[in-house]
């Protein structure tokens, strides 16, 4: 049988297994290095702040997306949820002039509500996640259109405190980014070190087995989608705070970027494996690419093509690492 010494020759292997993000970090460092070499201003305070600002929202959404993707699900509605929450909070702030502190909970609530809708359709309606959330992507966007119509919330309508929250920072780290990172860490710990979190991995890894093992699938799925929705809602608030302008198209088409970030981050699209850390790095990598290309004076028309190429490169690299790992595992598991 598999006579195995869990330690021997498995140090780097364990590292790779535990820390699939390695490849990403390398890519990230390389990219930043090259860009800075070509244009030192890329690491100037201002542009780093801009970068972190830009990353904050994607980071949040990627975090939520990870949770659902782990369960073999997917949430294509995040873009629309973000739009809805951004508009609702925005108009609530401008209309009622309610204190800024209530913005976050409000956005979270809106998002969580949408998440609950997704979860209910998927769990109780037995609708495949991709279908359900593709549906709510349309429906919720439609709702935003209804609500916003042609109107637009301008920065001037929003309380200054809120905008300050959007543009302010502590020690050079924007509040928004700080919020995202805190959330990311919290969710990371939840997934990695709490029973409920591990259940999500189990569900994604083998749903039937999870059922036999008595994992409360319904409750867990609900948790996942509500979480994803809530984070998208929070993202909406950050979006409003950052851009100050919200119209009906806020967050339009964002879902694919987020999925890309998650996948680049090494989260298995068919569930069961991946970490928020990876997803976060994926989001960061894509944002850096987006911001580096203009700085490198790369022709506008080439930028999208290069983003695509780099996405392919990133997942290919990640694949390389994991294949290595698997082979080593085999050797580790064998006995001859």
């Amino acid at each position: 049988m598999t006579t195995v010494d869990s330690r021997t020759g498995s140090t780097w292997l364990d590292l790779v297994l535990r820390f699939r993000a390695l490849g990403l970090i390398v890519a990230l460092v390389a990219l930043v290095g090259v860009t800075t070499a070509l244009n030192p201003r890329f690491l100037s305070g201002q542009s780093v702040r801009d970068l972190l600002f830009a990353a904050a929202v994607t980071l949040l959404l990627a975090c939520g997306m990870t949770v659902v993707v782990l369960t073999r699900g997917i949430d294509l509605s995040v873009g629309s949820v973000l739009g809805l929450s951004a508009y609702v909070t925005g108009s609530a702030l401008s209309a009622t002039g309610m204190p800024t502190v209530f913005a976050l909970p409000l956005g979270l609530a809106v998002g969580a509500a949408c998440g609950t809708l997704n979860g209910a359709i998927i769990h109780f309606g037995r609708v495949p996640p991709l279908v359900a959330t593709l549906g709510t992507l349309y429906v919720l966007r439609g709702v935003v259109y209804f609500a916003a119509g042609g109107s637009r919330i301008n920065a001037s309508d929003l309380p200054p405190g809120f905008l300050d929250f959007g543009s302010g920072d502590v020690l050079g780290v924007p509040y928004l980014f700080a919020v995202s990172v805190l959330v990311l860490a919290a969710v990371g710990v939840f997934l990695g070190r709490y029973r409920a979190g591990r259940d999500l991995y189990a569900l994604g890894s083998n749903p039937e087995a999870a059922r036999l093992a008595g994992v409360p699938a319904g409750r867990r799925l609900m948790t996942a989608y509500v979480l994803s929705g809530a984070l998208a809602g929070l993202g909406g608030v950050l979006y409003a705070a950052r851009f100050g302008t919200v119209d009906a198209s806020a967050g339009y088409g964002m879902e694919l970027d987020v999925v890309a970030a998650v996948v680049v981050g090494g989260v298995a699209i068919f569930g069961g494996s991946g970490t928020t850390l990876g997803a976060g790095l994926g989001a960061l990598l894509l944002t850096v690419i987006d911001n580096a290309l203009p700085v490198l004076r790369i022709d506008q028309f080439w930028q999208q093509a290069i983003v695509g190429a780099l996405i392919l490169a990133a997942i290919a690299l990640d694949r390389l690492v994991s294949v290595r790992a698997a082979r080593a595992l085999r050797r580790k598991g064998s006995h001859v």
Partner: protein
């Protein structure tokens, strides 16, 4: 009945199921099932494939809700909403098919949902791995608790399942053919543990098609047929023949109807076959009309060998020739064209398209031959499928039902059917009778020897010694990826095989 007659005042059963009925679409898996489990007893549940054994225990485990009938725990009627409820009630089940979380570590597979907690309710992995290691030690097996379950052999998977169930320290332990993929040594260790559990007062339900095991472990035995209760007796009161008659409702022919045939020319030649870390320098030949068995302990690498022969996995070194012509490495299509067929060991993972219909499964290997002018129209597939399920007595509802809805044994029959249908020159079977009931087992054996008689070269991997000894003309014994020795039909005895398999020969 007789069991209770013997016992002046029997303790109330821990579990008792009465009048249980359960249907899946047109299929009535259970009609009128009945079962009593007492504390401190090991109770055998036997029956044909599709008799309803697994379904019955799934009802007990809260997987299925019964259409009718009652489930009582300590005399109190219960209705388990889901498996969690049953688990909380102290019922642990080893299901027929291993169901592990490939992405989680072995240890987490054992403790999912009840991982040991440390500060702030965080999971304490160190403790978890230690407890897992302890469990495996108790079973006398070594599996790295910290490796992902992905890539474990079917046998190791079953061992993990066993450890999982044992770790729950349940008052009711249900085992659905836990030994199907295990060989003698593991089985003995398992029984040791189970006995001690029983002595601690646990009630054990044991489902198996191997009567030697049933007799070795159990006191009472319940027979099921067509989803209904037939009888419950003390094992001491009934003979195996009697049990078999009740199961299949008729007399059984010889278990190992071996036909002696004059072996023809060499058909399959394997030379210096090597797969990194799995098997090394394996050489042997199989002649037309011969049945050659690959014996050995679980994990000896037999499956790896046959997979390399069929070309599922590329070989790192060595030659495979069929009828003198060499086969390219890692190309099953070429092997099939050369007339090789492989019945794989893991029917769900490697054998079946569970979501597709029984018909598709039975005919997928012949999709080209059944087509007319490249089109698959008319009932060709249907006829072929019906014909072959009839030959192997597959028990099913409708040919359009998903293969996943078949009982374990019937699934195995479908896999056999789809490969026999290709009428191969070289038939390679890996654990061909895993989870198949005695009646069908005899038929499969008859079929194998009949095929051999027709000049087919048969290579058989089996963990069941009786089968190996009963069927094989020659026995190749593998140990740790190498061929430890070869035994002719005459010299092949249990002792001889086990000695080679375990490597005690040197000592002797």
């Amino acid at each position: 009945m007789s069991a209770l007659a013997r016992d002046p005042d029997p303790p109330p059963p821990v579990v008792s199921l009465t009048g249980v009925a359960k249907s899946f679409g047109a299929v009535r898996a259970l009609r009128d099932a009945k079962l009593d489990l007492h504390a401190g007893e090991a109770h055998a549940l036997v029956g044909e494939n599709g008799a309803g054994k697994s379904t019955l225990i799934k009802v007990l485990a809260g997987v299925h809700r019964p259409d009718a009938g009652t489930v009582e725990l300590d005399g109190r009627p219960v209705a388990f909403a889901d498996t969690a409820a049953a688990i909380d009630a102290g019922i642990a089940v080893i299901y027929q098919e291993p169901a592990l979380f490939g992405d989680l570590t072995v240890a987490e597979n054992l403790f999912i949902g009840r991982q040991p907690k440390g500060r702030f309710g965080l999971i304490d992995r160190a403790v978890m791995n230690r407890e897992a290691a302890a469990l495996f030690a108790r079973l006398g097996v070594h599996v790295d608790p910290d490796r992902p379950a992905k890539g474990l052999s079917i046998a190791d998977q079953q061992l993990v399942e066993i450890a999982k169930a044992l770790s729950r320290r349940a008052r009711v332990l249900v085992m659905d053919e836990p030994t199907a993929a295990l060989s003698g040594v593991e089985v003995e260790r398992l029984f040791g543990v189970v006995r001690s559990l029983r002595e601690d007062g646990a009630a054990v339900l044991f489902i198996s098609h191997r009567f030697d095991e049933v007799e070795a472990l159990c006191q009472r035995v319940t027979v099921m047929r067509d989803g209904a209760h037939v009888s419950t007796d003390l094992l001491a009161d009934v003979t195996v023949e009697e049990l078999v008659r009740r199961m299949v409702g008729r007399e059984l022919g010889a278990m190992f109807p071996k036909q002696v045939v004059e072996p023809g020319p060499v058909v399959l030649e394997v030379e210096g076959l090597t797969r990194e870390g799995l098997c090394r320098d394996v050489s042997f030949t199989v002649r037309a009309g011969e049945i050659v068995a690959l014996a050995g302990l679980v994990g000896a690498g037999r499956s790896e060998v046959v997979q390399a022969v069929f070309g599922i996995e590329a070989r790192d070194a060595g030659q495979v020739r069929v009828g003198g012509r060499g086969l390219p490495s890692g190309n099953p299509r070429a092997a099939m064209r050369a007339g090789v067929a492989l019945v794989p060991e893991d029917r769900r993972g490697q054998g079946l398209l569970l979501d597709l219909s029984i018909m598709r499964n039975a005919t997928i290997t012949r999709r080209n031959r059944l087509s007319r002018f490249g089109f698959l129209v008319g009932g060709a597939e249907r006829r072929a499928a019906r014909d072959w399920s009839a030959r192997l007595n597959v028990k099913y509802g409708r040919l359009q039902d998903p293969a996943g809805t078949l009982s374990g044994g019937n699934q195995q029959k479908v896999v056999l059917a789809k490969w026999l249908a290709t009428d191969p020159k070289v038939l390679v079977v890996d654990e061909p009778t895993r989870g198949i009931d005695v009646g069908t087992k005899a038929e499969v054996h008859r079929l194998l020897s009949a095929l051999a008689a027709d000049g087919v070269a048969v290579l058989m991997v089996s963990s069941e010694l009786l089968e190996v000894l009963g069927m094989a003309d020659r026995v190749l014994v593998m140990r740790e990826g190498r061929i430890a020795g070869e035994l002719g039909r005459a010299e092949a005895t249990e002792e001889a095989v086990m000695r080679l398999a375990t490597g005690q020969e040197a000592a002797a």
